[in-house]
């Protein structure tokens, strides 16, 4: 239904702009610097045990912190944006915010998945297991990830754009409510945690490590912004594309009436 020249039009639009290209360039350089900081500048986590004199610590596994912690921040930010977007859909009846909420939730789901994956990989050498039951942060992250999958499943249900927007908005708002409840319950359930505190304390984070961690969080937020813009624009273009398609579809749909209209004239 979409004619060739319209396809071309949509192609030439793309999802980037001058600003995002610059941002992209900066981020690319940022990633190079990040790799340099994470693998060259910073030391692995090696300490000497006071009594036995053996080397202990997390060794190179520690470097995972420069991925793990930043993606957590991205996940949290993304879901906050989803919640805001969902509320705005209902308040302003705007599809724009629906696309924001959707784009952000996708990134949030990805980031929480990455948190789980990097955390599990990290857990294997440090705790001797991929998974720790009874740890608040780990479990809330998991449930958060699952809730976001549910939200994305709802976004994919059938219906008109408006219908889907309202439905998803309700689930999006419930997402936040759910996160709060989950947080409460898991906190009570598993108040003990062997998760991050000990790590930071033992690894004596400071100096170049602290800087690199801080830097990677900033970089991750930059990446989040960049991805948000692109994902949103893609969704927006898809909508526009539907609009172009709609014009054609309307024309060919109306053409079906031609014979009847002729009969009416004569």
């Amino acid at each position: 239904m979409v004619s060739v020249d319209q396809t071309a039009r949509a192609d030439s639009m793309g999802t980037s702009s001058k600003t995002t290209r610059i941002l992209g360039g900066v981020l690319l350089a940022g990633i190079a610097l990040w790799l340099f900081l994470a693998f060259v500048v910073t030391e692995p986590d090696i300490r000497i045990d006071g009594t036995s004199g053996q080397e202990i610590g997390q060794f190179d596994a520690f470097r995972l912190i420069y991925v793990h912690v930043p993606v957590v921040f991205v996940a949290y930010t993304a879901f906050v944006v989803t919640a805001i977007g969902s509320i705005m859909v209902l308040v302003k009846r705007s599809v724009w915010w629906d696309l924001v909420a959707g784009a952000s939730a996708e990134i949030g789901a990805l980031a929480s998945a990455l948190t789980l994956i990097t955390g599990s990989i990290w857990g294997r050498p440090i705790w001797g297991t991929y998974w720790l039951w009874g740890d608040v942060r780990i479990l809330t992250t998991l449930v958060l990830f699952m809730l976001s999958l549910g939200y994305l499943a709802v976004r994919r249900l059938e219906g008109t754009a408006e219908e889907r927007a309202r439905r998803s908005a309700i689930v999006g708002i419930l997402l936040v409510v759910n996160i709060l409840i989950v947080n409460r319950s898991v906190e009570w359930w598993a108040s003990q945690t062997i998760h991050q505190d000990s790590t930071i304390a033992e690894a004596a984070i400071g100096g170049s490590k602290a800087f690199t961690l801080f830097y990677s969080i900033v970089l991750a937020m930059g990446l989040f912004t960049w991805m948000m813009i692109h994902r949103f624009r893609l969704a927006w273009l898809e909508r526009q594309f539907d609009r172009f398609g709609l014009d054609d579809a309307l024309t060919s749909r109306r053409a079906e009436a031609a014979s009847v209209l002729e009969g009416e004239m004569s």
């Binding site: 408006e162 219908e163 309307l250 749909r253 053409a255 079906e256 009436a257 014979s259 009847v260 209209l261």
Partner: protein, 225 residues
Amino acid sequence: MAVVALSDVVVLLGRFPALAGATLSVEAGQSVLLQGANGAGKSTLLRLCAGLLRPENGTATVLGSDLFKDRRAVRQKVGYVGHLSMLYDDLSVAENLRFWANAAGVSEKQERAAAERMAIDGRLFDVPVKALSAGQRRRTALAVAAARRPSLWLLDEPHAGLDQAGRDIVDELITDAAAAGGAVLVASHELDRVAPVVDRFVTIAGGLAIEQSQTQQAGGHVDLV
């Protein structure tokens, strides 16, 4: 004021423009036949007027309410009978009538009258709806709508499945409703049947609504092929 006032209305089903800029105005006391080829958009138009679909473009007012803003107000006032019966399969005919009458705030007397009007066989009152034949089901659905005495009737192929007696009743229903100052939209392929009982003919084609001229109305039959 027009009971139905649609202007350049577009309705999307998925991405398909089932209505592609339809314009139609129906006054109180009028009955209108919607005719047209399969897939032309008749059912879509009726569902739009019932407040069950959202218009995408254009302007649309039904019974004084804007379909973009307040579909709920519209829904309560129309008598829509579509392809699905909207009955509970596990409940008996009597129970279904009772429930829907209650839900619409209709008195028991009015409900009885509607069942009688549709000539629903007394034996059927205790039969669960799932066991009904196609025509019996349709009668019950019509009775549910009739009990509410709607000011706008939206009938999607109301004769389909009904026997001779049932058909006559539907014809009466249409004439009476229009006579009482209500408006009626009937989508149907049985032109010979519906032609004598309606005031106007509208052909739906390619998602557009096309008014038929007097001469064609007189013929009572418009060939679409």
